[in-house]
Amino acid sequence: MEKTHQAHHEHYDPEASKIGMWLFIFTELLLFGAMFIIYSVYRYLNPEAFHLAGEELNTLIGAINTVILLVSSMTIAMSTSAIRKGNIWLTQQLLAITLVLALVFLVNKYFEWGSKFSHGIFPGSEYMLANYSQGEILFFGLYFVMTGLHAVHILVGMGLIIWTMIEVRQKKIHQEKYDLLENSGLYWHLVDIIWIFLFPLFYLIH
């Protein structure tokens, strides 16, 4: 049984695995890159409206979510060091902390979006059409699409972390073979990098 298990992993190539992940990350960077370009162009065309609309976002909740994502990025980065030192227990703890932080991020997002919705600010809102300028509607449209797509990535990242934790538990991920853990980490850091740009562009620049 052990022999067949070994033979199964004969062609295990961590470098190829990592490169595959990086190529995927490049496509993700360009996907969000295109949205950042759309944002920049509309900001350039509607500077006053973007200024006004940006002030309606809560900088504090944005800052809290930034701190949450940065800490979660550290914990998942540490989990790779932990598995390479053979510390399965610590790997699982760090992944669990990352998962909880991801959930807290989404809960914050839920309340943030919820308060916007209750003020009549959401895509296709009659209230916005009546009370907001075209530039402001564009700003909030981009805000919902970009933070929404980012939130979808958080969900996918959480799925990857759960999958990784299951494989660690099943001992499919261990000291000698940890490419899934490493790639989940890379994905999670990508989500972090996107937020690093979303936060100043939507919450800070007024």
């Binding site: 990592k18 550290m74 800070l204």
Partner: protein
Amino acid sequence: MSDEKQHIVPYSTFVVVLVALLALTFASIGITSIELGGLTVAAALIFAIAKTYLVLAYFMHIKYDKPYIGIMVGLIFLLFLAVVIITFLDYFYRV
């Protein structure tokens, strides 16, 4: 790859990087709250780029990987920059 000596990043490095990232975050919140006009956007972006560098180099392990991964990442950012410049050349010189 397997016969290479692989570097295990110590936990303390990650803690130092996190502290730096948090410091840059609070600095960017501070600097954008001051009225700098057009410079605000530039300042916010410089802080974001510095933070991205730290995440790429340490959390994403590029500093310890073979150089070609870092080069590819650099090329992607150059490609993105080229598209940004071409787009804005269009908007600046539109009549």
